[in-house]
């Protein structure tokens, strides 16, 4: 670095030099470090320079040679008596203090306390310091020495040597002890660095403080008349030094002072630029610091004051554009400051944010452009010699290169002045302002977007678009404008929309974009466009031209030089070889032709033709003819039926001529035309919805240029989307026939197709309820009431879906004769489950019907459905009860082995229908025998009505068996059917039922009693008891007859005997009845020592207890059962 | 019925204008209910010289206004005999309410029912757009 190396003054007016923008940091020069060859030094340098995060002290360090030449210090003048300042602020000054004149110079020197050649070293160090001091003669720059030491120091006070040598060194370099530092380059280097730089920072602050003081000191020498400039300069300097010192409050105060002084300066054309530049700088500083102090309102009000004060201080009128440039810059830079502040955590609001300032900046830029247009056109050449030669080495900010340092009111050399102005104008001409404007606008857009001001954002985008247009970037303009039109349309700001469209139309023309051109025209002709009907006519004519492949006339207001190009473009575009077919989405614009479509009904049967009407209305200037209209449906098969090609037949009653798809698409303004289409749904669509997916209206012919105007769904336009009632002229009087009221036409985009209703009749002939387990017979009778033959009829019969699945499982359906067409009977077998079953019969068949579509009838095959369902109750046919009884017919729970017993079955008919029992069967298990050898049913072909009963009785015996066991008897099965159902020839139903088990007891002995059925008083009756031994061993038996008052008897009163195994013993008695009636017999007691107790009660059970005794006298033959 | 719709339309138009006049000096409305209250109190009083007797709502955009002595029905003999004329008399008020509300930004359907002259119920169903 060298003193001469000054930076370049920005040439642009109102530009802010970097040294102004940057944050001023105290400047500290580090000398004596060899960062290239000495690793240690390098490390030290890096510890200073590398990653200076905000938490480090605000200093900027530079490496300089020990013998670096610092800028010479001019001898301070003792008095300002004769001094006339040549300008306000030197261009070099800020930079000088930021980068050239250090606040502190640090001399690094490798020296340890235990250095052997201490003396020499000390000398060397001193001389180095001397060098530095010398080159800084007259400046207050602080000098500090840092000794780089290998070994880390002992705690202070202990190292005597160190203390004493340090003192020596200080005196040698006449350095205050405070300015001597030790840097042991140990592993804690960074820590030491931090400490060091803090020390340096203090020194630096001290330095800047002094500098500020110095400047202040000049103050009293100044006088108001000649030194106004100096007042500003000094205040500015003080402020700047304070900034360097990081005392922002004082800085701010001083800048304000400076600002006040500038505003007081007498301004005239010659120094206006200088004043504005400086005030601009100061204002910048004030705003920046205000934001920094978190006082945004101060910043804003300061800025307002600033611009209000200067906005009319145009200065030299030939250079008015400079003023706009300056204003532009002011706003932009403030915008930036504001934005910065926000990023630093400030919150802005919808009505106060950077966007507004960028916007204003942009406006001033635009203004500048206009002024340039007005002022600079004559300045076509750069005068020679170029007065702006040394524009980049000005001595003072904001001065004219050709008369630097000149402060008098009028320019010294008018001729030069003229050249200068011309030169500036010439330079201005070279500027492409659009590229200043557009970025400003776009940053404004970003801001407004952020602060939810959609409309403002859009407006700015429009302006961007216009700017692109001026910048001749028509495509960009077009796309940009295209993006915003929608919102203006939806909010119905027609005037704005129109202006945008006009602009777009020009762009479209200039880039010969057929699609855009047509689209825009469609809308410009439409009812939203606020342009005269002549213009509309003109637009429409051009539209027609384009559509019929001729280039349109140039749009008025296009830059003529580009029109020629455009013409060529159009020629190529519309040349026969390349065809332009494109689609225009009509719902995105408010076109001059509107469309509504509807199905005549919401649903219709498969055998009737669907009717679909399309209504068109044009609001253009003169009649227009379209080439084709097609309605596209979700099933493309129909599209052909819904296509109408204009047959170029003149006239037309609005009704499209049917049959032939040729019609008349000639629309006259204001008149609504209706086009009807008709077609028949395909079988596949039965049960589905047919929907209008879109409507396409072609303008122009397909083979060269054709716009396909497309409405999604059933039409309607974005105007109606905006839910604002249409403003139509009030129609008067009652509605006339064949004239439609547009607003009353509803959109019905879909129709659902339902099957043709069937004329089949289904009868189900059957007699419920069904009996459990039977084959239930039902007869289905299908009668065809169609007047046409029907084909592939098919029938399903079965349980209706969705009944409890126990029912489903327990039901089977059989078909007897599966010959469809004639009545088919069917049986339902239902098993073990009573309850309701719903039977459904479903038939399906095809039938060919003739449908008149478009006046000619065509056969259509329809599938029809018919169903019938009945609910069938199922009941039990009968209920069966089983009893067991002893031979005495009294019911028993258990029987004795070898002792015969009775099985009684009772069948009670519960069916409402008589049932016939064909047979019944007893299937005995091996444990049980029948007494008589052949078991045969007693119920064969017994027929029972409801509640009638049928019983059977079998005599069974259970052979000897081990003690007390229960044995199954077997099964009982009944074969039955409904009485009189022969003609159906249904099989008989066999229901088998498991019989209960019985308990069989085995007993040691069996007593058989032989006794007459009755006796007579005083007439002896003979009684024999036979006692069988059922055991395998001899049994002792004691028998005794208990006396009784009713009888006298003869025979053993008391007897004891033995019975051999499987043999018997007979005891005979004669009873002599004394009283008549049903008398108690004398009881025979049996006792067996082996089975104490048992035998006796056995006897009790087996022996008859009473007998009927007739009185004496008259004979009677009657039988009485005991 | 054609005449009923006509009357309704007249009412609608008048309602729009009236409400514009009445709300000229009232502070901005807080919400739907606030508007309804306005209709029942001020609007009704100014038009029919009395407040609505009862306002009920399901808080889902259905309101029922009940007026037990509805001004336009007082002239008619009380009771049930002139029931069939009620629609003619109520079409206009319905329109009035609808017009007022729609101008206040609430599109709705208004129907009236009379069970016993001169008491009358107006049901308002707000159309959420």
């Amino acid at each position: 670095m060298s003193a001469v190396e000054s930076f370049t003054v920005p040439t642009g007016v109102g530009e802010f030099p970097p040294e102004l923008i940057c944050r001023p940091l105290g400047f500290v020069a580090l000398t004596g470090l060899d960062v290239i060859y000495n690793a240690v030094h390098k490390a030290i340098w890096e510890s200073f320079s590398a990653n200076r995060r905000p938490d480090r002290v605000p200093l900027s360090f530079k490496i300089l040679d020990g013998d670096h030449e610092y800028p010479k210090c001019r001898s301070k003048r003792s008095s300002y008596e004769w001094y006339i300042p040549k300008g306000i602020t030197k261009t070099g000054w800020m930079n000088k203090h930021l980068n050239l004149i250090p606040a502190v110079v640090v001399v690094f020197f490798d020296l340890d306390w235990d250095e052997t050649q201490w003396k020499e070293k000390q000398m060397e160090c001193a001389s180095r310091v001397e060098v530095v001091r010398h080159s800084l003669q007259g400046r207050g720059t602080k000098v500090a020495v840092v000794l780089i030491q290998k070994n880390s120091p002992l705690p202070p006070g202990e190292d005597m040597v160190a203390a004493e040598r340090a003192a020596a060194l200080c005196s040698a370099c006449d350095l205050s002890a405070k300015s001597l530092f030790v840097l042991p380059h140990s592993d804690h280097l960074f820590g030491y660095t931090i400490r060091l730089e803090n020390a340096f920072y203090e020194l630096a602050q001290g330095y800047y403080h002094m500098e500020a003081r110095k400047v202040k000191a000049h103050k009293e020498f100044l006088n108001k008349t000649t030194h106004q400039l100096l007042f500003v300069r000094h205040a500015f300097k003080i402020a700047f030094f304070n900034e360097l010192k990081q005392d922002t409050n004082t800085a701010l105060k001083q800048y304000k002072v400076a600002y006040a002084y500038v505003s007081e300066l007498r301004a005239h054309d010659t120094n206006m630029l200088e004043i504005k530049s400086i005030s601009g700088f100061i204002n910048y500083k004030i705003c920046k610091l205000s934001f920094h102090h978190n006082a945004p309102l101060d910043a804003i009000s300061q800025f307002r004051k600033h611009v209000d004060f200067y906005k009319n201080k145009t200065g030299c009128s030939e250079l008015a554009f400079e003023h706009s440039a300056w204003m532009c810059k002011q706003f932009q830079i403030f915008g930036d400051l504001f934005d910065e502040a926000i990023r630093a955590g400030l919150n802005a609001i919808q009505t106060q944010h950077p966007g507004f300032y960028y916007q204003q900046a942009a406006y001033h830029a635009v203004n500048r452009k206009h002024l340039c247009r007005g002022l600079c056109h004559s300045a076509t050449v750069m005068p020679d010699p170029n007065p702006l030669e040394d524009a980049d080495k000005l001595e003072y900010y904001g001065q004219r290169p050709w008369r630097q340092g000149h402060q008098s009111i009028d320019p010294p050399d008018p001729a030069k002045e003229k050249d200068g102005i011309q030169a500036l104008q010439y330079k201005e001409l070279q500027v492409d302002h659009s590229w200043i404007i557009i970025p400003l606008l776009s940053s404004a857009v970003a801001q407004f977007k952020k602060y939810k001001s959609a409309r403002m954002k859009r407006y700015l985008m429009v302006q961007m678009g216009e700017e692109y247009y001026h910048a001749k970037d028509y495509n960009k303009a077009l796309t940009l404008l295209d993006r915003v039109t929608w919102d203006y349309r939806v909010e119905r700001w027609c005037a704005l929309l129109t202006s945008i469209l006009n602009m777009s139309l020009r762009c479209a023309y200039l880039v010969a974009s057929v699609r855009h051109y047509v689209t825009i025209s469609l809308e410009l002709i439409g009812r939203f466009a606020h342009i005269s009907s002549e213009e509309k006519t003109h637009v429409q004519m051009n539209l027609i031209r384009v559509i019929s492949n001729n280039p349109p006339e140039p749009v008025t207001g296009c830059p003529s030089e580009y029109v020629e190009l455009a013409k060529q473009l159009w020629k190529d575009k519309l040349s026969p070889e390349n065809s332009n077919i494109f689609t225009v989405e009509m719902q995105n614009i408010v076109p001059f032709v509107e469309c509504k479509a509807r199905f005549s009904t919401s649903k219709c049967t498969a055998d009737t033709p669907l009717q679909l009407q399309v209504y068109l209305r044009a609001s253009c200037q003169f009649p227009i003819r379209f080439s084709k209209l097609c309605v596209l449906l979700n099933n493309h098969a129909y599209n052909d039926y819904c296509t109408l090609v204009d047959g170029h037949t003149v006239g037309g009653d609005g009704e499209a001529s049917y049959s032939s798809c040729h019609g008349d698409l000639y629309l006259t303004p204001g008149q609504i035309k209706m086009y009807a289409f008709e077609f028949v749904a395909e079988p596949v669509d039965v049960g589905k919805k047919i929907e209008i997916t879109s409507i396409a209206l072609s303008l122009g012919n397909e083979d060269n240029c054709c716009a396909i105007l497309r409405w999604v769904g059933a039409g309607g336009d974005s105007a109606s989307l905006t839910n604002v009632q249409e403003q139509v002229q009030m129609k008067r009087g009652p509605p006339k026939p064949n004239e439609y009221d547009w607003s009353n036409i509803t959109l019905d985009p879909s129709i659902s197709i339902i099957p043709r209703c069937s004329n089949l009749d289904i009868q189900l002939d059957h007699n419920p309820p069904s009996l459990m387990n039977e084959f239930y017979y039902a007869k289905v009778i299908i009668t065809n009431n169609e007047d046409l033959e029907i084909q592939n009829l098919c029938m399903q019969i079965g349980l209706k879906e969705g009944q409890e699945n126990t029912l489903e499982q327990s039901t089977q359906v059989f078909l007897d004769e599966a010959t469809i067409g004639i009545p088919g009977p069917s049986r339902i077998k239902n098993v073990e489950l009573t309850g309701n079953r719903i039977l459904g019969v479903r038939t399906m068949y095809d039938i060919q019907v003739n449908v008149t579509q478009n006046k000619l009838s065509m056969p259509v095959i329809c599938t029809c459905y018919q169903e019938k369902s009945v609910s069938v109750q199922t009941v039990l046919p009968y209920d069966l009860s089983i009893k067991m009884a002893s031979l005495k017919f009294d019911v028993v729970e258990h029987v004795h082995s070898d002792e015969p017993f009775l099985l009684l079955t009772d069948i009670k008919c519960t069916s409402p229908w008589p049932i016939t029992i064909e047979n019944s069967q007893l299937l005995l298990s091996d444990e049980v025998k029948s007494v008589d050898e052949t078991l045969q049913s007693q119920l064969i072909s017994v027929s029972l009505k409801q509640n009638e009963c049928a019983s059977e009785c079998y005599c069974l015996v259970a052979p000897v068996h081990h003690q007390h066991t229960t044995v199954p008897i077997g099964h009982y099965s009944v074969q039955w059917k409904r009485t009189n159902c022969e003609e159906e020839g249904l099989p008989t139903v066999e229901t088998t039922l498991a019989l209960p088990s019985i308990t069989v007891e085995t007993i040691p002995l069996f007593i058989e009693t032989k006794i007459p059925s009755h006796g007579r008083v005083r007439d002896s009756l003979h009684v024999t008891y036979t006692i069988y031994n059922k055991t395998q061993m001899v049994q002792e038996v004691e028998a005794g007859m208990e006396p009784s008052e009713a009888f006298m008897f003869s025979g053993h009163k008391q007897v004891c005997f033995r019975i051999l195994p499987v043999s018997q013993q007979v005891l005979m008695y004669n009873f002599y009845p004394l009283v008549p009636g049903h008398v108690k017999l004398p009881r025979l007691h049996i006792n067996m020592p082996r089975y104490p107790g048992v035998a006796d009660d056995l006897g009790g059970r087996m022996l008859p207890t009473h007998i009927f005794i007739k009185p004496q006298g008259k004979e009677l033959h009657e039988s009485a059962s005991g | 019925d054609k005449c009923v719709t006509r009357l309704e339309q007249l009412g609608y138009r008048v309602g729009q204008s009236l409400v514009e006049r009445f709300t000229k000096d009232s502070p901005r409305f807080k919400d739907e209910l606030d508007i309804m209250k306005f209709v029942c109190k001020d609007f009704w009083t100014t038009v029919y010289k009395k407040q609505v007797d009862n306002l009920r709502t399901n808080h889902q955009g259905v309101y029922v206004l009940q007026d037990n002595r509805f001004r336009l029905l007082i002239q008619i003999a009380a009771g049930k005999q002139y029931m069939e004329y009620a629609p003619k008399y109520l079409a206009f008020p319905c329109g009035l309410i609808r017009g007022a509300l729609s101008n206040l930004g609430m599109n709705c359907i208004v129907t009236a029912e009379v069970t016993q002259m001169p008491a009358c119920k107006f049901q308002i169903i707000i159309q959420k757009s």
């Binding site: 008067r732 | 007249l10 009083t45 010289k49």
Partner: protein
């Protein structure tokens, strides 16, 4: 009740507004329904007539005016009482024809026409024509056949509103009310 307080419109004024607005709505509806303004005028007149024939009873009952002896008296009653009672205004009576069978009512601030601005295209619409009908109908009920029409109307740019009445003849026995 905050709103109640800050409502300024007094109910009397309001009911008048209601009346005016309703009439306005009626007229514009008629304009929609009929082809030409003349039909509308006729319609208004007819309506007025029907009102008139009913209203006269009410009027006679409320204002105990006796039989008028001449047309001038009638004029007075109409202006000073009828108009006052029903429209709250008293038009002035002028321009008597020499024969005394014809006079004008100069109506100032006709309540029917508040807010009304007649569009150009309705140049020959007699906005307040209903009044003519009323007068005609009412007078017919008191056995006077008269012709009533708007001679001038501020709505149509004239600087006064003038209703002209012309006495045609005395109707002997009261003929049945209502011509339709």
């Amino acid at each position: 009740m905050s709103r109640q307080s800050n409502r300024t419109t007094d109910s009397r004024k309001v009911s008048q507004e209601l009346f005016t607005l309703t009439y306005g709505a009626l007229v514009s509806q008629l304009i929609k329904d009929y082809e030409g303004d003349d039909d509308v005028n006729k319609q208004l007149d007819k309506m007025g007539y029907n009102i008139g024939v009913r209203m006269v009873e009410d009027f006679l009952a409320r204002s105990s005016v006796g039989r008028c002896h001449d047309f001038r008296e009638t004029a007075d009653v109409i202006a000073k009482q009828a108009f006052k009672m029903y429209l709250g205004i008293t038009p002035s009576i002028t321009n008597w024809s020499p024969a005394g069978d014809e006079f004008s009512l100069i109506v100032e601030n006709n309540p029917l026409t508040d807010f009304v601005e007649l569009p150009e295209k309705h140049g020959n619409l007699c906005y307040s024509n209903v009044l003519c009908g009323v007068l005609r109908g009412a007078l017919e009920m008191v056995q006077m056949e008269v012709k009533v029409w708007f001679a001038q109307d501020t709505l149509r740019g004239d600087n006064i509103t003038e209703i002209r009445l012309k006495f045609i003849k005395r109707l002997e026995d009261a003929l049945p009310a209502g011509e339709e």
